[in-house]
């Protein structure tokens, strides 16, 4: 369960994704994202829950919309939480500093 924090899925699609996290982080609605990539807003909902695995084209369109590489948005393995990925190494470094 904790492995899955920060990402959705894999559900029926067998694919994990960070669409919901990225949307929330940037304050983008499902409809806005759907309009930008040319799909129905319901499709974004199904993608987020892992009910649908996107085509390669749609996966790239979504990644491009967020300005991220596709592997930062979709993965076959559970994502680490974004906060841990961004700050994890800094926290470890700070702890090492304190010990010294």
């Amino acid at each position: 369960m904790s492995e899955n924090i920060g990402s959705s899925g894999p559900g029926e699609s067998g694919l994990y994704n960070r669409i919901a996290v990225l949307r929330a982080e940037r304050g983008i609605g499902r409809q806005d994202l759907a309009d930008a990539v040319g799909v129905n807003y319901q499709t974004i909902g199904f993608l987020e829950r892992g009910n649908y695995g996107p085509s390669l084209k749609l996966a790239f369109q979504i990644a491009e919309f967020f300005g991220l590489p596709v592997e930062a948005v979709f993965s076959t393995k559970p994502f680490r939480p974004l906060s841990e990925q961004v700050y994890g190494s800094r926290v470890v470094e700070a702890e090492m500093e304190n010990r010294r």
Binding site: G29, Q31, V39, N40, T43, F46, R49, L58
Partner: protein
């Protein structure tokens, strides 16, 4: 897929799959009742109203799921293809059973002629009932499969 259904002035939320499944069950119970009424009451006027009723019920399905040529994205196209692929075998079964029940294929018929007059009347009507069921399935089953299988729909936000 439309998530709101206006029924006699009342707005029903069709986003949860459970609601849509109840609707599908209700629709087919009504379809079955219409076929039964049509064939049990030998009156052309009743038949006409039953036909209109079946069309009206089918319009409810169409309102909710739309048409296959209106699919707006890749997921919807896939869902329609899946629904058609699952629907057509059932249509085929209905037609094959209608053929057997009709007695056109005397050597293959599954139903042996009954001596009971009520059963004889039923056997005489069975092929037409199956053909009617095939007609209703042809126009409604892909939509019903979509309503049945689509997971709960999230809000647009």
């Amino acid at each position: 897929m439309n998530t709101q259904l206006n029924l006699l002035g009342k707005r029903l939320n069709m986003a949860p799959r459970a609601h849509r499944r109840w609707l599908v069950v209700l629709m087919y119970v009504i379809f079955a009742a219409l076929i039964e009424v049509w064939f049990s009451m030998d009156a052309p006027r009743v038949a006409t109203w039953c036909l209109f009723g079946a069309v009206a019920l089918n319009l409810v399905f169409m309102h909710l799921v739309g048409r296959s040529n209106e699919a707006s994205d890749e997921r919807e196209v896939k869902r329609w293809d899946h629904a058609y692929a699952r629907a057509y075998p059932w249509l085929g079964y209905c037609l094959v059973f209608a053929l057997f029940a009709s007695g056109l294929t005397k050597k293959l018929t599954l139903i042996s002629p009954s001596t009971n007059p009520a059963l004889q009347a039923f056997e005489a009507q069975l092929p037409y009932m199956l053909l009617m069921a095939a007609g209703i399935l042809y126009v409604s089953l892909p939509q019903a499969i979509l309503l049945w299988t689509e997971p709960d729909i999230l809000e647009a936000e």
